[in-house]
C-alpha cells in the first residue's frame, strides 16, 4: 500500500522552507505503483467486453420467469462470463477506490482505515460471492444429490443484502 509513512514522519520535523519536491526527492518509490497502475489498465481492458456482455445479456433476460433465467444462468458460457465479470469488476473497483482515497483523504488515520476497509470489504465480498455462485451453480447442474463442495455459510451474502 502506498501511503506516505516515511515522508509523513519527515514532515513532522520539517517546518517550512523546503519545497514539496525537495521533501519528496530521494525517498525512493513505494515499489508497487507500476504494478497497481498496470493491473488497473489490464482489468479495464478485460472489462470492456465483459461489462458490455453482462449489461446487454441481463437486459435481454429482464422480466423472464425463474425457470428461463435459471436455465440461462446455468449454461457454462454464462457462468464463466459472470464469474469473470464479478471478479474483474471488484478488483478494478478496489483499485480505483484506493486511488480516489489516496488522492482526496489527507488525514493519515482516516486514510489508512479507509484503504484497509476497501480492500477487506470488496475482496471478502468477491470471495464470498464466488464461493456462493460456484456452490449454487453446481447444485443447479448436479441436482440435490451431489458432490458439490460445501461452503461454510451459504446464507451470508443473501442476508447482507436482502
Amino acid at each position: 500500500m502506498d501511503y506516505c509513512l516515511i515522508p509523513c514522519l519527515r514532515n513532522l520535523h520539517d517546518m517550512s522552507i523546503l519545497t514539496p519536491f525537495k521533501r519528496a526527492s530521494g525517498l525512493g518509490s513505494t515499489s508497487d505503483g507500476v504494478k497497481h497502475w498496470w493491473m488497473q489498465r489490464m482489468t479495464a481492458v478485460a472489462l470492456v467486453p465483459l461489462s458490455l456482455w453482462v449489461a446487454f445479456a441481463i437486459a435481454s433476460h429482464a422480466g423472464e420467469d425463474y425457470t428461463t433465467v435459471a436455465a440461462w444462468f446455468a449454461q457454462p458460457f454464462t457462468t464463466t462470463m459472470l464469474i469473470l465479470f464479478v471478479f474483474t469488476a471488484f478488483l478494478h473497483a478496489s483499485q480505483g477506490l484506493t486511488v480516489v482515497i489516496e488522492d482526496y483523504v489527507h488525514h493519515d488515520g482516516v486514510k489508512v482505515t479507509a484503504l484497509v476497509g476497501v480492500k477487506l470489504v470488496l475482496v471478502l465480498l468477491d470471495q464470498q460471492r464466488l464461493e456462493h455462485f460456484t456452490y449454487r451453480i453446481c447444485r443447479l447442474i448436479e441436482g440435490a444429490n451431489n458432490q458439490c463442495p460445501t461452503i461454510k455459510s451459504n446464507t451470508i451474502p443473501m442476508t447482507w443484502l436482502s
Binding site: M15, P20, A44, A55, A59, F90, A93, R129, M158, S162
Partner: protein
C-alpha cells in the same frame, strides 16, 4: 499533507471554470465510485438467481419497482459513460488523442456514446 510554501497545488474550483475535458475527468471518477457501489446490485440479482425461485422473485420485485428501475437506469448510464471514457483513457495510455482539438472531440463522442448505449439497452430490456 501540508503544502509548506502555500502555493496552490491545483486550480481553485470556485473561481476556475472547468473546461469540458475537466468536467468529463471528474465525472469519470464520480461514476467509478457510483459503479463500485452499484455493481453490488448486479451481484445481488445474480446471487438471487442462485438462491432459488423465492429470492429471485423478491429481488425482481425490488429491482422492478419504479425506484429500482430509476437506480438501474442511473447505473447503466454510469456504466456506459465510465466504459466509453475508459476506452478514451486507454487510447491516451497508448499515446493517441492528447492534443486539445482531439480531446474536445472525443469528449463529445464519449458523452454521445454513453447516452446512445443507455437508450439502446433500455429498448432491449
Amino acid at each position: 499533507m501540508k503544502n509548506a510554501s502555500n502555493r496552490p497545488l491545483s486550480p481553485h474550483l470556485q473561481i476556475y471554470k472547468l473546461p469540458l475535458t475537466g468536467i468529463l475527468s471528474i465525472t469519470h471518477r464520480a461514476t467509478g465510485v457510483v459503479l463500485a457501489i452499484g455493481t453490488l446490485l448486479v451481484t445481488y440479482w445474480l446471487a438471487a438467481i442462485a438462491g432459488g425461485e423465492e429470492s429471485f422473485n423478491s429481488a425482481n420485485a425490488i429491482l422492478g419497482s419504479w425506484f429500482g428501475k430509476l437506480v438501474l437506469f442511473g447505473w447503466t448510464w454510469a456504466l456506459f459513460y465510465h466504459l466509453s471514457n475508459g476506452v478514451r483513457h486507454l487510447l491516451w495510455d497508448i499515446g493517441f488523442g492528447f492534443d486539445i482539438p482531439t480531446a474536445n472531440l472525443t469528449s463529445k463522442i464519449v458523452v454521445g456514446a454513453s447516452f446512445v448505449l443507455t437508450i439502446l439497452l433500455w429498448i432491449i430490456a
